[in-house]
């Protein structure tokens, strides 16, 4: 059974009615067809109404939807010949971050993305998409390898944040993220980032320094989770809704702040409703921007990325 978010209840109700009608014996009467098509119209309207008016907190729920497409789904729907590459060569493999070689319309590229699980067992294996230092050291290694062999890098961001644990601190979570930023800043190949679900702070940024950044319509990206922000500033995690508004974490906000380049439209009702249709839009974004970046020299690509991040920030002088 698919997960239903509470504000989606009216949609699900009409869908159930439709299912019931379609399964009735003695179908195909004109009356029946009319009924079905009017319900279908109603469904489209209700869905559009709800999804056009999502509050920031509702977007947080959609971004975290357990049926939302994850990195491996995008890999399957966008690329061919994916070969996963493992390990940081220092400590161990981190399954919360998937890395590998793949082909995009026949061209070799490096793909890197957070990976959440679909159920408890998978989530324990994937650590809920929360990466440890060894994961970031794996991606650093592969960013550098892509750079060495002049292959473009495509990253998919979807994490609650870098893992906050004893081992992570002992092995230098801060250093691992910091070094990742430096490695990405130094790349002389095209890099494209897709904010696909949850953009959770430093753990997201550690793979998100693309020359071009696209963000799925209902994804979120902020410096802290709404719950974390609420518990610090309001001293009460139940203010998460208010914090979600204050943090300006929606794709529309981030486009206005010039943090992302493009909002990637989701199918009506959210990406979780249709993985292939979502992937098609994401692919279009990647292919278009990659073509543009490939006209640049290595030095231009480096400088383009440097200037992009150099200019982020708002202040008075």
């Amino acid at each position: 059974m698919a997960t239903v978010l509470d504000f989606e209840a009216p949609i699900v109700e009409i869908e159930a009615q439709l299912d019931e009608l379609r399964n009735l014996p003695g179908l195909n009467s004109d009356q029946m067809n009319k009924e079905i098509s009017s319900l279908e119209d109603k469904l489209a309207k209700v869905r559009a109404n709800i999804y056009k008016r999502l509050t920031p907190q509702q977007k947080v729920m959609v971004a975290r939807h357990p049926d939302r497409p994850y990195t491996l789904d995008y890999i399957q729907n966008i690329f061919t010949d994916f070969t996963e590459l493992h390990g940081d060569r220092l400590f161990r493999e981190d399954p919360a971050l998937v890395c590998g070689m793949a082909k995009l319309d026949g061209e070799p590229v490096m793909v890197i993305g957070h990976q959440k699980g679909r159920n408890t067992k998978e989530n324990i294996h994937r650590n809920f998409g929360m990466v440890n230092p060894e994961g970031y050291r794996k991606s650093q290694r592969l960013f550098e390898m892509a750079d060495m062999f002049k292959r473009p890098v495509i990253t998919f961001v979807d994490t609650p944040g870098a893992y906050p644990g004893i081992g992570a601190e002992e092995r230098g979570q801060a250093e691992a993220i910091a070094r990742s930023l430096m490695v990405m800043a130094g790349l002389k190949v095209p890099m494209i980032t897709v904010i696909a679900g949850e953009g959770g702070s430093g753990g997201a940024l550690a793979i998100a320094m693309g020359n071009r950044i696209g963000m799925l319509e209902h994804s979120i990206y902020a410096v802290i989770s709404p719950e974390g922000c609420a518990s610090i500033l309001w001293k009460d995690a139940s203010y998460a809704g208010k914090a979600a508004e204050a943090l300006k974490l929606t794709s529309k906000d981030l486009k206005e702040l010039n943090i992302i380049d493009e909002i990637i439209e989701e199918p009506m009702g959210g990406a979780h409703r249709n993985h292939p249709a979502t992937a098609a839009k994401v692919k279009d974004f990647i292919v278009r921007n990659l073509a543009e970046l490939k006209t640049m020299t290595p030095e231009q690509l480096f400088e383009d990325r440097y200037q992009k991040f150099r200019n982020m920030g708002v202040f008075a002088e």
Partner: protein, 283 residues
């Protein structure tokens, strides 16, 4: 209580009213929050606000930290006019601009970062640091921009860079813009490295979150203040995640040294000589 304290107590009890006596006590004597020993105030000042008995480092301002490191009177501030705006119109229990205003009044600074050009043993350097007293030393757009300008100026004038960190991490009131300062400051250090110039990062109590996870951990040499909390996720966050109490000394400077994250832990009295040696090596 030592005999000196005992006699002083007796004498003062005779001569001064209670309130006045308390004030004199506080001026002359200081109880160490680390070892509990009573220290003569002048001794603590002479030891650069550290406990002469146990070596505990008491908080000082960023300007005091800079003064410990550089040749006296050589600091020329740069970029002092940068001020925070409120691009997100952020409001929790207070409005962000009101928080900034209060911090400006409290610290006399325009934002949490002070930077400039100075000399260390007559060698020119670029040096800048975060003031914790200004909104917990959080890194917003101004702090990020000033760090990048410090690095850019160092590249232009061909000097090494020293940063002094002391921060609760990101400035939540600037959300995503604050996060991007991590990318921006780290990227600037790539350019510094390309020019063959060095970055010495001095991490003081506390250095956490997005500051640790960006430029502060990216020193060619990382130096930690003794006993400082230096981490990515704060102890409270970790305890909530794993539901265990953390071991004694976890995420303190000495722990970081043991785990290979910093090159050395240096007492304030050794900052200048230690940094000078590194600068000499950098050439």
């Amino acid at each position: 209580m030592g005999i000196r304290d005992f006699l002083r107590d007796k004498v003062q009890k005779v001569n001064t009213p209670d309130q006045q006596r308390k004030e004199i006590d506080e001026k002359l004597w200081l109880k160490c929050s680390g070892c509990g020993e009573i220290n003569y105030h002048k001794e603590v000042t002479k030891a650069l606000q550290t406990c002469p008995k146990c070596g505990k480092h008491f908080p000082i301002t960023v300007r005091e930290k800079i003064d410990i490191i550089i040749d006296p009177g050589t600091f020329q501030e740069i970029d002092e006019n940068l001020k925070s705006l409120d691009p997100l119109k952020f409001k929790d229990s207070k409005k962000y601009p009101d928080r900034v205003k209060a911090a400006v009044k409290k610290t006399g600074m325009n934002d949490a970062f002070v930077s400039g050009i100075a000399r260390i043993n007559d060698r020119p350097v670029h040096i800048g640091g975060i003031e914790f007293g200004f909104l917990g030393g959080s890194m917003g757009s101004v702090v990020g921009e000033k760090i990048v300008r410090l690095v850019e100026s160092a590249i232009e004038k061909n000097t090494h860079v020293i940063t002094i960190s002391c921060s609760g991490g990101a400035r939540m009131q600037e959300s995503i813009l604050s996060l991007m300062q991590m990318a921006k400051t780290s990227a600037a250090l790539v350019k510094l490295r390309q020019k063959g110039l060095g970055h010495i990062s001095l991490l003081t109590d506390p250095t956490t979150g997005g500051v640790t996870a960006s430029y502060a951990m990216l020193g060619d040499i990382n130096i930690a203040e003794p006993g400082a909390l230096i981490c990515f996720a704060g102890p409270r966050v970790i305890e909530q995640t794993i539901r265990q109490t953390l071991p004694e000394g976890f995420q303190r400077s000495e722990f970081l040294l043991e785990h290979g994250m910093v090159d050395m832990v240096l007492h304030r009295q050794d900052w200048k000589s230690g940094i000078s040696k590194v600068l000499e090596f950098f050439g």
